[in-house]
Each structure stands twice: as structure tokens, then as C-alpha cells.
Symmetry: C2
Subunit: 199 residues, 2 copies
DNA sequence: TCGATACCTTACCCGTTGGTAAGTCGAGAT
DNA sequence: ATCTCGACTTACCAACGGGTAAGGTATCGA
């Protein structure tokens, strides 16, 4: 992987997360990198493909995180727990990825015709497979397990993208209050799913 | 309220929900109405103000729904329950409002500097006040109650905007599976909040 | 040394963008 | 009958959008 290529993806990811696909121009991204927009077009061909590459990279990073060495040695339950804990941690410290993810969720229904499949599919299905090897979930249908996974990942994302609004509405004090209450609540949600109480 | 004015707001709301602020052009909205874009500019001055007017109208509709006659006669607990149930019902049947709401949540951090306050503030605070009159919540801080309200409303929104993706990923069967499981789960969430188990 | 290839630039194109200026047109009031 | 005002329209604009064409330059294998 080229160095500039990754730098372009970094800048693009940040800006797409902040302003959405239509809110960002190629010239805008290029400017922050000190290159011309044709450098981007050289690497990615079109704006759509650049956007797709950003999503691809994120998808792969999610999959890599799930297949990370330190998780593979664990029991499925603990693997599931540990991964989602990490996920929430990453979302809290840097919400830009979640903003992009949710934007894509919104835009997907327009772009769905063009794209063959949703870019998060592989990751979500992999996590679903982990859940289905957990005790108490072997009998569940794929759809049930998928729903549970989707809702957990969604809860973390929604929490992450709410930070600026909650800070703006409740002040820092209000935001800290929700932060304190959300992490343990998320743990409860995970446990509820693992104990098959939720679906 | 003029008739065309409301028609413009209708079309704008739909399109902003579908493609976001930057994804929609004034000419685009005008075309669907069979007028020129200058008609929109005549009524609203700028694109930003048109967008703001759309949000204002939604905010007022939320407040009206909360202050509806049939809710006022109920006990606070049942009022809270009943309103959120209705909210989920409206979100399920027409998700466009929720898409706009979530988009605004994402864009808000950029627009926050310009807008004096978030457009959903009044509504969320009104609902928070209802919760605070419920048994078991009188002692809670404003922030705690607000967080609980925010998470409930957020859960309904996130569910609503997920429909196309879930249908795309799991097929109609998968989507129906989550639909069946979500409504009762949402009820449990409401009850958990009312019983002060959650925060 | 030569050619090819990857990487990037300058120059240019044209449709679209939000917005302005200046009218048109009909209804109501005086 | 005229004046006014709100609700539009046509005509226009400068800036910006993504994208193309063509050229320069460094690297590298033959």
C-alpha cells in the first residue's frame, strides 16, 4: 500500500465522516493534504470509488479487530464480550468512524442499487457467527442472532455520534453523566444478549 | 400558513431526509413541485433557512404530539409510555422523519456554531419534564432524566433508519424477524426506565 | 541507455450550485 | 381607477462540482 494513498484515505475518511458524501469536494480533501484533486482521481478514479475505498478499509479494520490474535484464544462468550467492549472504547475516543458508519446507513438506501452489497455485511456476519457459537445461541436462527448483533453495534454507534449534541444540550456535566451511565449499561446489554434474555 | 409554503416544506423534508442537506439542491426540490427554485427563495430566503424551517416544523409537531389532548388526561407514567409507543409507531410507518433527525444529529456539530440551539431541545426537555413527574424519578437530576429520554428516542430512531439496510442484508424475512422482536423490546426498555432500573 | 510505468501537475471543460435583479400578474384596499 | 403587496417568473451570474486531456518527472527493469 502506497503511503499517499493511505494519507488520502485518512483525510477522506475524516471529511466524509464530518460532512457526508455530498458535503465534501475532492478539491477540499486534496487541499488538506497539499496535493491537487487530480492526485486523488489518479489513485481512485472517481469520487464514488474513493468513498467506497474508505468504506472497504473500515470494513477490513473491523474484521481484523475481530480476528485479532488476543481474541482467538478466548471462549466465544468472552470473545464476543471483549470485542464489543473494545468497540465501544474505540467509538468513545474517536467517533468519526461511527459518524461515517451511520451516514452510510442513511445513504445506503439510495446507493443500494449501485453497490452490490453493504460494506459492513462481512463484519456483521462474522460477529454473528461468533455469537452463534456461544452457549444458548446454537439453536437460534441466523436472523435472530444477526438482529442481536446489529442492535448492539448500533447502540454503540448511536452513543458515539451523540457526544456533540449531548454536550451542547446538557453541557459537559450532562455529557459526563451519560458517559458514566452508558458504559455499564452497555455491558448489561451484552450480558442480556449472551443470556438470551433480549431477542 | 400558506399552502405552497407547506408544500415546499413537505417536499424539502422528504428530500433532505433522503439525501441530506448537501445532497439536495433547491432546483431539485422546486422541480418536484413544478415551480422554480426562486419560489423557494422567495418564501425562505436561503437554503439554510429553508432547512431550518423544516426542522422547526418537525420540532413543533413533536411538541404538539406530546401535548395532544388524549395524553393530557393520563397519569405521567402512562403518558410517557403512550407517547413513546406512538412515536415508535410513527417511526415504523414512515422513517423519513427519523432519517432527517439522525442526519441533523450528525451535521449538528458543524452547524452548531451558527444555530443558537438544537432544534429538538424543547421537545426533549418537555419529555424529560414528563418523566421527572413520574413516580421514582422525582429525585433524579435533570441530566439523568434527560439521558434516559434521549436514549429511548434514539433507540426508536435507530431502529427506524435501519429498515432498508436490514431488509437488504437479511431479506424481508430477516427484517420481519427484527420487527417482531423490536417492539416488545422497546416496551421493556420503557418499563425499565420507568422503574428506574436503567440509568 | 532506453522504454515503460507509477505518480502527480497544469490547464481546461461544462453542468450545477446558491443567490441576485428585475420584472409579471392577480387580488384587495382606497 | 390606481396603488400596493404578496406570490411568483425569467434572466442572469460567479463560484464550484466532478471529470478529461495531456504533459512532466522519478524510478526501475532490461
Amino acid at each position: 500500500m502506497s503511503d499517499t494513498r493511505n494519507q488520502i484515505l485518512d483525510a477522506a475518511e475524516q471529511q466524509f465522516a464530518d460532512r457526508g458524501f455530498y458535503g465534501v469536494s475532492l478539491a477540499n480533501i486534496a487541499e488538506t493534504l497539499g496535493v491537487t484533486k487530480q492526485a486523488l482521481l489518479h489513485h481512485f478514479g472517481t469520487k464514488e470509488r474513493l468513498y467506497g475505498s474508505v468504506l472497504d478499509r473500515i470494513s477490513k479494520e473491523f474484521l481484523n479487530a475481530l480476528h485479532a490474535q488476543h481474541l482467538q484464544t478466548l471462549e466465544p462468550e468472552e470473545q464476543f464480550r471483549s470485542f464489543l467492549r473494545d468497540l465501544l472504547g474505540r467509538s468513545s475516543s474517536d467517533a468519526s468512524r461511527d459518524r461515517l458508519l451511520v451516514r452510510e446507513l442513511l445513504d445506503n438506501r439510495e446507493r443500494a442499487a449501485e453497490a452490490d452489497a453493504w460494506y459492513m455485511r462481512d463484519f456483521l456476519e462474522a460477529l454473528t457467527r461468533v455469537l452463534k457459537t456461544c452457549c444458548g445461541w446454537q439453536q437460534a436462527t441466523d436472523a435472530e442472532a444477526f438482529c442481536a448483533v446489529y442492535q448492539l453495534v448500533g447502540a454503540a454507534s448511536y452513543y458515539a455520534i451523540s457526544e456533540p449534541t449531548l454536550t451542547g444540550l446538557g453541557g459537559e456535566k450532562g455529557y459526563r453523566a451519560i458517559t458514566r451511565s452508558f458504559a455499564p449499561q452497555f455491558e448489561l446489554l451484552i450480558e442480556a444478549v449472551l443470556k438470551q434474555q433480549a431477542p
